[in-house]
Structures are given as C-alpha cells and as structure tokens.
C-alpha cells in the first residue's frame, strides 16, 4: 500500500491532467447535509457513509462522493457549459472486514454541456482511457438509458412501468416484479384474499372492518392503493415475447459493434428503444473520432445496475484484469436525472467520472 503522501502526489498529477484538459478546479466541503444524501440514496447510505451531528445544522455526513456537491454547486451558480475537476478524500464506512479503505482519494472530471451529450460521453471516456492507458486496463461500458427506454416501451400500465423503473437498480426485486407482471408467478395469496373480500363488500366495507384508524397514512391513501391493486389485477400480463426481449437486453454482453447490431434488431420489435440505440451509435462514432478502438470495447447492457444508482445513461468502469480483487480503478457515467433532482426545477445533461489514485499506484508499483 502506497503512503498517503505518494497517493496525494499521484492525485495531484491526475488533477493537473484534468485541468490541462480544460477543467476548472473546484472544492467541496467534507461535511454534507445528511438529508440530501438520504433522500437521494435512501436509508442504505447510512451503512456506507459516516453520519455525524452538528449542533446547528443537524445530521451531517462525511462526503461519500463528490458528484452530489459538485452538481449542487453547478446548479446554484455554474456557468454553461462547464468542465470541473476536483481531488480529495471521500469517506466510506466498511461494514465487512475485507480490507477496503474507509477513506481514500478520488480525482474527478465532470462535464455539464447541453450541446452534444454523446460527444461529452466520449470526451470523458476517451480522457480517462488516455490517462489510464499505461496501465493496460479493461474497460466495461453500458447504458442505463437503453434499459429505461426498454421498460418504458413495454405494453403495460404506467404503474407497472414506474414500479420496474424504480427497482431497476435492485436486480432481484426487479426480477420478482417482472415475473409477476409477466404472469410467470401469481399474485401473493394475501392480495388475492383482499381482492376477493373487496369484491364482496367493497373498498369501504373492507376499510370499515380493518380496525381503528391510526397514523399519518390515512383511509384515503389505503383506499387509493386498493383501487390500484384492483386495476393491476385487471391488467393483462406483459406478453411473454416482450419479457423475453427485456431478458435478452439484460443479458446482452458483446463487443460494442455487435451489441449495437443486436440492439438495432431488438428495436424492430421494441421501437421505444430506437432513440437510445441511436444515441449509442452516435456515442460509438464519437468515441472512434476520439481514437478509441470501439471494435474491442466491451458493452454489457446490465452494467452499472447494482452500484451506480444515479446514473441514467452511459456508464463505464476501468478494471485491472490481473487484479480482480481490486475495485474498479475508475468509474463514471451520465446522470442527467440527478441534476434535475438537485436543480430545483432546472436540469442539464451531465457526465463524469472519478479515478482512485491509490489503486493506480498499487498497480504501477506491482508492475515495477
């Protein structure tokens, strides 16, 4: 393990590279509002970030990443377009003793640009590929936008699509829902019983028998959901063919040109993904123009589904094939929706990523 000063020096070198590429250096506070992060990531972030209490500001978290504060800063007073770079430590609680550090440096590069999102994707990826090229890494890429478009294109109710999109980042839960909506599994017994009773005595009848009304979630909210359950029970299952198409997309793992061909074929049956597939094509063209050999570039449609909750388009990571035990040396992606969430009504297409200088050193030291 490299010393902290060596890691800082490596971070500074990468920071310089990103500034030379045209990014403006920015800082972020170590203490971040816990509320913002909890609302974004959910309660789970508590097991990953250090929570502390400030007597005036309330619950605070040691920054688990830079993306959120950088987006907040840009949305409140950034000029457009903008390219930012930052370096500093992030803090991650480790609940399992597997040797992962709980504080480590990140050096990041983020692009906020409306002009040509695919060119911006390519710019970030090509820059990272160039900076990391001496290490001989494998790059993984994916596109959450294609998955979201595929779900949107299903021939079913908006409510089912919303439920699937909400759980896109929880593959097991997504599968359970898809199996149920596709009629592969039947509805839970308790729900079948409820709907039978509703049919007999009506929603009000059920609620009258349900017991004392307590709590903030009131009778009208319960009634609303029962109505939603009735509607859902009356919605026909998603056609087996469509579920198969979705499964096909989810399992797609190919070199990029083949993946593109595959997705074009799929778009004939699921035209809703056409726009996202065209974006993939434009991105591959932009990557080629930047000198990336896309014929060798891996594309996994499911990439980024488990770890990168705020990404909603292009996603990438760089891995050392000789060191499968290491987390990715670099990762990033597009997060347009995050700018909308943090922008209070405004939004801007944004893409970026981070490099972990400690991992870079581990690898270069190993090579020497």
């Amino acid at each position: 393990m490299a010393s902290k000063s060596a890691i800082r020096a490596e971070a500074a070198r990468l920071f310089d590279r990103f500034q030379a590429a045209g990014a403006q250096p920015v800082e972020a506070s170590v203490l971040q509002s816990a509320d913002t992060l909890l609302d974004l990531y959910g309660e789970d972030i508590r097991s990953r970030a250090y929570v502390t209490a400030d007597p005036l500001q309330g619950e605070m978290m040691l920054r688990p990443d830079f993306t959120v504060p950088v987006v907040q800063m840009h949305m409140s007073d950034g000029a457009e377009p903008a390219r930012y770079t930052y370096m500093g430590e992030v803090f991650r609680k480790q609940e399992h003793d597997d040797g992962r550090p709980s504080e480590y440096f990140q050096v990041g590069y983020e692009v906020f640009d409306r002009e040509d999102p695919e060119a911006a994707d390519a710019e970030v990826f090509a820059l990272f590929a160039d900076v990391l090229s001496p290490l001989g890494l494998r790059a993984a890429t994916g596109d959450i936008g294609i998955l979201l478009a595929a779900v949107d294109g299903l021939n079913t109710s908006d409510r089912r699509k919303a439920a699937l999109k909400r759980h896109l980042w929880r593959p097991r839960r997504f599968r359970t829902l898809l199996d149920r909506f596709g009629g592969r599994t039947s509805m839970p017994e308790t729900r079948a019983r409820l709907l039978k009773t509703v049919k007999k005595v009506g929603v009000d009848g059920v609620l009258d028998q349900a017991g004392a009304e307590i709590g903030l979630r009131d009778r009208s909210e319960v009634a609303k959901r029962i109505t939603a359950l009735e509607e859902d029970a009356a919605t026909p299952p998603i056609a087996a063919g469509e579920v198969d198409i979705l499964d096909h997309i989810l399992s797609l793992r190919e070199k990029s040109p083949n993946a593109l061909e595959n997705l074009r074929d799929i778009a004939v049956d699921l035209p809703n993904i056409s726009g996202a597939v065209q974006r993939l094509e434009r991105r591959l063209d932009a990557l080629s123009a930047k000198g990336v050999d896309v014929s060798k570039l891996d594309f996994e449609a499911s990439y980024g589904r488990t770890t990168m909750e705020y990404y909603d388009g292009f996603v990438f990571g760089f891995y050392a094939e000789s060191r499968p035990d290491l987390p990715p040396l670099a990762s990033g992606g597009r997060y347009d929706a995050l700018t909308r969430v943090l922008g209070q009504g405004r939004s801007i297409p944004a893409v970026g990523g981070v490099i972990r200088p400690a991992q870079v050193l581990t690898l270069t030291e190993g090579k020497q």
């Binding site: 097991s47 609620l207 319960v222």
Partner: protein, 232 residues
Amino acid sequence: MTLKLGVPSKGRLMEKTFDWFAERGVTLRRTGNEREYAGAVDGLDGVELVLLSAGEIPRELAAGRIQLGVTGSDLVREKIADWENKMRELEPMGFGHADLIIAVPKCWADVETLDDLDAAAAAFRSEHGFRLRIATKYHRLVREFLREAGVADYQLVDSQGATEGTVKNLTAEAVADITSTGDTLRANHLKILTDGSVHKSQATLFRSRRADWTDEMRADFMALARKLGLED
C-alpha cells in the same frame, strides 16, 4: 490465563443462564453481597465468571476481552458489524425468546407483505414528501433485512422504548420491534407483516474468535464443552 465467561448480570436472563449451566453440571453463582457484581464457577478449573450487562457482552466478545459469553442473538447481530468473523455461536440455549418483526397499522388493509410495504412507501413518499418512517432501535438488523427484501423509500427513526406507540403519536408510520406474544402490538392496533420476521432471537452461548487462546485455555474450554455437551 483463565477463560472468562460473560453472563448477564441480573434478572430472568441471569437466572435462566445459571439454570442452564446447572442442568449441565456447571454451577455458576454470585459471590459477595447482593449488589456486588462478582461471581464464581464451581466444578471446573480455569473458568472465571464475569457478570456484565447483556447489552455489553457482544462488544466484549468482539474485542476478545471475554472468551465466552451469553447474550441474545439479536444483540450480537445488531451491535457487531461482521459479527461472524468475530465470534461463533456455540449453542442456542432455549430461553430469552424474542422475535424482531415489522408491524404496520391494522387499518392498512392493503399491506400484508414486504412487497406491499415497499409499494405503500413509494406512494407515501409522493403523497407526503418524505420517506415512510419505521421506528426501531434495531437499525442494522432492520436496514439489512429491508435491503435484502428490496424495500425502498423508507427511513428508520430511532425509538428506544414504547415503540408501538409511535404510530399513534404520528412520529412513525410503522415499527420494527421485539415481540414475544404480540399482545402489545394488538393493543396498539398494529399487525405483523406475513414475511416481516427480521430475526428470531434467543439467549445463545458465544465463543470469541478474537481472543488470544493459550493451550491451557483451549484445554479448559474442551473440558467445559464436554461438560456442556457441545459438539465441536
């Protein structure tokens, strides 16, 4: 070095622990006056009795300051991250049963499962503008359980007592709490989710993995284990 056996220092848990050991031919007893937390082990050499608050025994085992300890399996899982690497369950002892469960108001006719809870949480958040609150003191256990189940859009609010009352007091929408008979839940108009059993706890004898074991301690432990009829 003697083996240190940590045992709850008062109440039914202590009495039942003493009984459990006595049935296996090992006599634990308190020494000194009634208020003094001192004890002894009769019938075995090299084992020292340490009386501790049940809530502290997990931490002492994890740190290796005691080699053996009796505490609730829920407390170990709640208090110690990565507990399986720090201690081992030797034997469930058959008392101190308590189930950690998730309960919601009985008037939620639409919610019987975790799947329902997740859907209700999503609707609640868009209706009220904040995440559905679950009151508990078992943060780690509940969070890990809900993560496994894929429940989102909830938040845990801390409740160190009278947790069943939080829903009526509008400080939470649901609870995750220990129950043995369910009477308190029913009295507070709550019902348990059909798949809402987070952990079935009971008093359990643990062995620390962290402690530095000498050969002598190992031999003393083997003698104790034989007496207690533990399989190793």
